[in-house]
C-alpha cells in the first residue's frame, strides 16, 4: 500500500529494536475480551483508478451532475469561485498544516487568519472577529450563549422566526441542556420580524434577527436595535448570505452588538452543505467573552511584526470546564478561503457582484409576477424572495426539473402556514436565458 512505506526488512529491524518478534506482539497487553472478533468487513483496497470510477458513478446519481440551474439558496448559495482562490487554497502548506500552535512555523496561516478577522470586521461593521466557527447555525448558538454569559443573571433569549429554520433548531439543541428559555418572535406582513412585544418578555438577555432573513427580506436593523436596546437586551444579528453586505448597511453600523453567520458564499463550494464557515464578530468591549480561536498581532524577539493564537485563557485547554466554549478549532482553510475571496473581489468587485445578484433576482421576480404569481411579503429583498402561485405550481416545477432546472423550494417544508409559497434564489451564476426559460414555462 503506497501510504505505508515500511519494507519487510525495515519492520524486522525495528521490531528487533523494540524487542518484539512480530507486529501483533505490540498489542499483547490488550485484553482478549476487548478485541475484534475476526476481520472487519470493509471493501477495498481500491486502486486510484477504480476509486475514481466508483465516485464518478456515485456523482452521476446526484442531480448536480446534470443540473443546468438550481434557483435555490436557503442557506447554501451558488457563486462563481475564481480559479486563483481554488488554486491557492489547495496549496498543501496551508491545507496539510495543523492548528498554528508553533507560530514560528505557521506565520502563513496566522497572518492569513488575522487578515480574515480584519476583513470580516470591515464587512460587518464590527470591531473584533474570531478565527471562525463551524457554520452559521452553531455560530448563532454560540452568539446566544455568549450574550447569556455577558448578561450573567438573565436566562431568556428571543429569536426571530424568520431566522433560518435549521439555525433555530441548532440553537434549541445548544441551549436546551442548560435550561435557557427561548422565545420566538413573529413575522409581520412585510416579512420582517415583529419586535413590538419585547417589552413584555422578562429576563431578556438577547434578541437575534437574521438579515436578509430566511424569506430573503431585508430587516430594518436600525429600528430593531432601538427597540432591543430599550428592552436592555443585547442585539445579535445573523446572516446566511454575506454578499448582501456589498450593498446593505452593515449590522455594526445599524447597532448590532454581536454579528454572526454563514460565509459559504465567499469561495466555498456548496458540497452538500459543508464544510461552510461560521463568521463571528462583536464589539471590542466583549472580546474576552468571544468563543473560539483568535489570532492577534505581536512582535518577535527582534521586534519584528508577527502573529500568534491569543486570549488562550478563555479556552478549554487552560480553563477546562470554565472555558467560554468547548471549541478547540476553527474552520482554518475555509476562513483563509473567505479572506482570499474577499481580497479577489475587493470593495469594487463585491459591490458589483452584489448589485448583479440584486438586479438578476429583481428581473426574475418581476418576470414571475407578470405570469400571475404574488409576493408573499411586501418587504424588500436581496437575492432571494418568496412567491405564491395562483395555479398549482407543482406541474410546472416538475416540467422544469425534467429540463435540469430546480425552481425554488416549497416554503411549507419549513413553515406549515405558508402552503403554496415557494422560496427562490438567483445569483450571478444564473444566465438570463435560464430565467427567461422559466418565466416562459410558467406563462404557457
Amino acid at each position: 500500500m503506497r501510504y505505508l512505506p515500511h519494507t519487510k526488512e525495515e519492520i524486522e529491524e525495528m521490531l528487533a529494536v523494540t524487542g518484539h518478534g512480530q507486529l501483533k506482539e505490540l498489542f499483547a497487553h490488550i485484553p482478549e475480551n476487548c478485541r475484534c472478533q475476526g476481520e472487519i468487513d470493509i471493501p477495498g483496497p481500491l486502486s486510484e483508478w477504480d476509486l475514481t470510477d466508483h465516485f464518478q458513478s456515485l456523482a452521476a446519481n446526484n442531480l448536480a451532475s446534470s443540473a443546468r440551474a438550481v434557483l435555490l439558496g436557503a442557506g447554501s448559495y451558488s457563486h462563481h469561485i475564481p480559479e486563483i482562490v481554488r488554486n491557492l487554497m489547495s496549496r498543501s502548506e496551508f491545507l496539510t498544516a495543523y492548528t498554528p500552535y508553533q507560530p514560528e512555523m505557521a506565520q502563513g496561516t496566522l497572518q492569513g487568519i488575522f487578515e480574515y478577522q480584519t476583513l470580516t470586521t470591515r464587512l460587518l461593521g464590527m470591531e473584533v472577529a474570531n478565527g471562525s466557527m463551524y457554520d452559521g447555525a452553531s455560530a448563532l448558538a454560540e452568539a446566544l450563549l455568549m450574550a447569556l454569559r455577558i448578561a450573567r443573571k438573565k436566562h431568556t433569549v428571543a429569536i426571530s422566526s424568520a431566522i433560518h429554520p435549521h439555525y433555530r433548531k441548532v440553537v434549541y439543541t445548544y441551549l436546551q441542556a442548560a435550561s435557557f428559555k427561548i422565545v420566538e418572535l413573529p413575522v409581520g406582513r412585510d416579512g420582517r420580524t415583529d419586535c413590538s412585544g419585547l417589552q413584555n418578555i422578562d429576563d431578556l438577555a438577547a434578541v437575534a434577527l437574521q438579515s436578509p432573513n430566511f424569506f430573503g427580506v431585508i430587516e430594518d436593523l436600525e429600528t430593531a436595535a432601538l427597540k432591543i436596546h430599550a428592552a436592555d437586551a443585547l442585539f445579535i444579528t445573523c446572516f446566511s448570505e454575506p454578499f448582501a453586505y456589498g450593498l446593505l448597511r452593515s449590522p455594526g453600523a445599524s447597532g448590532a452588538d454581536i454579528v454572526c453567520g454563514e460565509g459559504q458564499s465567499f469561495g466555498m463550494s456548496q458540497s452538500f452543505g459543508g464544510p461552510g464557515l461560521g463568521m463571528f464578530a462583536c464589539r471590542k468591549k466583549y472580546q474576552r467573552n468571544l468563543p473560539g480561536r483568535v489570532v492577534g498581532e505581536t512582535v518577535d524577539l527582534e521586534g519584528k511584526r508577527g502573529y500568534v493564537l491569543t486570549l488562550a485563557t478563555r479556552e478549554q485547554h487552560i480553563r477546562r470546564e470554565k472555558a467560554t466554549s468547548n471549541i478547540c478549532s476553527n474552520q482554518g482553510i475555509c476562513a483563509l478561503t473567505a479572506a482570499a475571496y474577499m481580497a479577489s473581489l475587493g470593495s469594487t468587485g463585491l459591490r458589483r457582484v452584489a448589485k448583479l445578484n440584486y438586479d438578476k433576482a429583481a428581473y426574475f421576480k418581476n418576470g414571475l409576477i407578470q405570469t400571475g404569481a404574488k409576493l408573499l411579503f411586501s418587504g424588500q429583498t436581496f437575492n432571494e424572495f418568496v412567491l405564491r402561485f395562483a395555479d398549482d405550481f407543482k406541474p410546472a416545477r416538475k416540467r422544469l426539473l425534467a429540463k435540469g432546472i430546480v425552481a425554488g423550494i416549497e416554503l411549507s417544508d419549513f413553515y406549515k402556514e405558508y402552503e403554496g409559497a415557494y422560496l427562490f434564489c438567483v445569483t450571478e451564476t444564473v444566465s438570463r436565458t435560464i430565467l427567461d426559460e422559466v418565466i416562459e414555462e410558467l406563462r404557457s
Partner: protein
C-alpha cells in the same frame, strides 16, 4: 552535528493585504450584466457604502498567498510528530475526488431522490465506521471532535431525562483532553477528576469509589493521552453500568487500534472519531474536521437528526425521531470531509487499515526505545501510537521542553505536542504515525539526540532557538495583554 532537512532558504517579505493594492484593480472575472438594472432600488435607510476592502490584481493575490504559504509547514513539507493529533499523510487523490463536479456542487436541500449519490456516500461511511468501532449506529453530523463530544454529552442528558433521573456529575480522568470537561460543562454536568494510577492507566478501584447514582457516567479516552491502553476498561465500564451510568469514549486515538479493538465489547456506549486524524483528511491549519459519533443500539434513538437511512436500494433522510437530541449543523456536517474519509477507507481496505495501526504503534515504540537514553520516559512500559517523554533530564542544565521544541524547528521538524498531557510536567508527546518511514524516523531520532546533547553543552543555543525561521520566538504575553485582533 547531525542535520535534519532544515536549512535557511529564500524567505520573502509580504505585507498585510490592505497594505498593498490600488483602487480600481481587480482579481475577479466579472460576469456579464445580461439583465437590465433594477428600476426599484433598495430603500436609502437600508443601504450602505460597502466594506473597505483593498482592490488587488490577480497577480497581487497570487503572490500574497504564495508567499504566506512559504512561511507555513505542513505534512507535505516534513515530519509532524504532534502527539494526539495524528498528523499522517493526506492522500492527494482524496482531494481530487471531493472536487468531482457532481459531488462538490450538490445543493443540500434537494429532494432525496436527486441526491442519491451523496446519501449513499454518507450511508456507507456510517456503515464502515460502525464496523470499524464495533458500535451499532453512527451520525456523521458533528463538525469536529469537540462537537462530537458535545453530542455525546447531550445524549447522556437526554437518556437520564427520559428515565426521569436527576444526575449532575461526570467522571473525567486527569489524562483527558481539555475539551472533555468543557463539553460536559456545556451540557450542565459537573466534572469530577479521576487520578490515573502510577502506571499511567486508570485503576478500576478509583472508579468504584467515585461512581454513584448522582453521576451520569464516565468520559475517557482509550488509548489514553499517555499513549497507553486502558487495560481495566472492561472492569471500569462494568462498574459504571452497574451504577446505572453511561460510558463515553473519546476516539481521538483510534489510529492505534483499527481492526484490533472492538469498542462495544469494551463496554463503550458512545464514542466519537476524528476523521481528520485517523482517516487522513487534511487539518487545514485548524479545520474543517469531522467528529462522527458512534453509539450502541440502546442509544440509537437519541442521535442527531436528520439521519441517513436505506430502504431497498434507495437512501433517504429521516427526521421523525422524537427522542433525538436535535440538529447540530445547518445541514449534514462537513460533507466534503466525509467524502475524503470514505475515499481513504476504500483505498485502504480492512487489511491496510489494520496494518496502518500496527505500523503506527511500531513507529511510536521504535522512537520510544531509541530516545529513552536521552529523554526521560514518563511511564516505562510499551506504548500504543504515541510516547510521552519529559524534560526531567535537561532541567538540571536549565533547559525546558519549550527550548528543545523550538530547536527542533531549526532542524526542519515540527515539534511534538508539548506540556500535554498535564499529568506529566514538561511533557513531550511524540506521535510519528504510520506514514513516516524508518529512514525519516532515524534522521529525526538523531537530530533529537543532538538537541538533547546540546542541552548540556550549548544551552544558550536552545534558549535562543529558533534562529533559522522568518521570525524568532514571538511575544505571546504582549499579544494577550493588549489584544490587537484586527489591522
Amino acid at each position: 552535528m547531525t542535520h535534519g532537512p532544515g536549512i535557511s532558504g529564500l524567505i520573502l517579505e509580504e505585507p498585510l493585504l490592505w497594505e498593498k493594492g490600488k483602487k480600481g484593480r481587480s482579481a475577479f472575472s466579472m460576469p456579464d450584466q445580461d439583465v437590465p438594472e433594477a428600476t426599484v432600488g433598495i430603500d436609502e435607510n437600508l443601504l450602505g457604502d460597502g466594506p473597505d476592502f483593498p482592490d488587488l490584481s490577480e497577480v497581487d493575490v497570487v503572490r500574497h498567498y504564495t508567499r504566506l504559504s512559504q512561511w507555513n509547514f505542513g505534512i507535505d513539507s516534513g515530519m509532524y510528530p504532534l502527539g494526539s493529533c495524528t498528523m499522517k499523510y493526506n492522500p492527494k487523490i482524496n482531494e481530487k475526488i471531493a472536487a468531482i463536479p457532481g459531488i462538490v456542487t450538490s445543493h443540500p436541500l434537494l429532494a432525496d431522490e436527486l441526491s442519491q449519490g451523496a446519501l449513499q456516500i454518507m450511508f456507507e461511511l456510517q456503515t464502515f465506521l460502525a464496523r470499524l468501532t464495533g458500535m451499532d449506529a453512527v451520525s456523521l453530523q458533528p463538525a469536529a471532535g469537540a462537537q462530537g463530544e458535545m453530542a455525546g454529552m447531550l445524549i447522556f442528558a437526554a437518556w437520564f431525562r427520559k428515565k426521569s433521573e436527576k444526575r449532575s456529575k461526570i467522571l473525567i480522568p486527569d489524562t483527558a483532553h481539555g475539551t472533555n470537561p468543557a463539553s460536559a460543562a456545556l451540557c450542565g454536568f459537573k466534572p469530577v477528576q479521576l487520578k490515573s494510577g502510577a502506571d499511567g492507566i486508570l485503576d478500576a478501584k478509583t472508579v468504584t469509589e467515585l461512581m454513584d447514582d448522582e453521576t451520569v457516567g464516565i468520559m475517557l479516552t482509550n488509548p489514553n493521552t499517555l499513549g497507553l491502553f486502558e487495560e481495566s476498561i472492561r472492569e471500569i465500564t462494568a462498574i459504571v453500568h452497574e451504577k446505572g451510568g453511561l460510558v463515553y469514549g473519546d476516539g481521538a486515538n483510534m489510529n492505534a487500534v483499527m481492526g484490533m479493538v472492538d469498542f462495544k465489547r469494551c463496554g463503550i456506549d458512545i464514542m466519537h472519531l476524528n476523521l481528520h486524524k485517523t482517516f487522513s483528511t487534511p487539518h487545514g491549519g485548524g479545520g474543517p474536521g469531522a467528529g462522527p459519533i458512534c453509539v450502541v443500539d440502546e442509544l440509537k434513538d437519541f442521535l442527531p437528526v436528520p439521519r441517513v437511512a436505506k430502504a431497498g436500494n434507495t437512501y433517504h433522510l429521516e427526521y421523525d425521531c422524537p427522542d433525538s437530541i436535535g440538529r447540530l449543523h445547518t445541514f449534514f456536517g462537513n460533507f466534503g470531509v466525509l467524502v475524503k474519509a470514505y475515499s481513504y477507507i476504500l483505498s485502504m481496505g480492512a487489511k491496510n487499515l489494520k496494518k496502518a495501526s500496527q505500523l503506527a504503534v511500531l513507529n511510536a515504540n521504535y522512537v520510544r526505545e531509541s530516545l529513552r537514553d536521552v529523554l526521560y520516559l514518563a511511564y516505562d512500559k510499551p506504548c500504543m501510537h504515541e510516547c510521552v517523554f519529559s524534560d526531567k533530564m535537561q532541567q538540571e542544565h536549565g533547559i525546558s521542553t519549550l527550548d528543545m521544541a523550538k530547536r527542533l524547528i531549526d532542524h526542519g521538524y515540527h515539534p511534538p505536542t508539548i506540556y500535554f498531557p498535564l499529568v506529566v510536567p514538561g511533557a513531550i508527546m511524540i506521535e510519528p504515525t504510520e506514514t513516516e518511514n524508518k529512514d525519516d524516523l532515524d534522521q529525526f531520532i538523531d537530530v533529537f539526540k543532538d538537541v538533547a546533547r546540546e542541552a548540556s553543552e550549548d544551552g544558550e543555543r536552545l534558549r535562543q532557538a529558533p534562529t533559522r525561521t522568518k521570525l524568532r520566538r514571538l511575544d505571546e504575553t504582549q499579544a494577550a495583554r493588549k489584544p490587537c485582533l484586527t489591522g
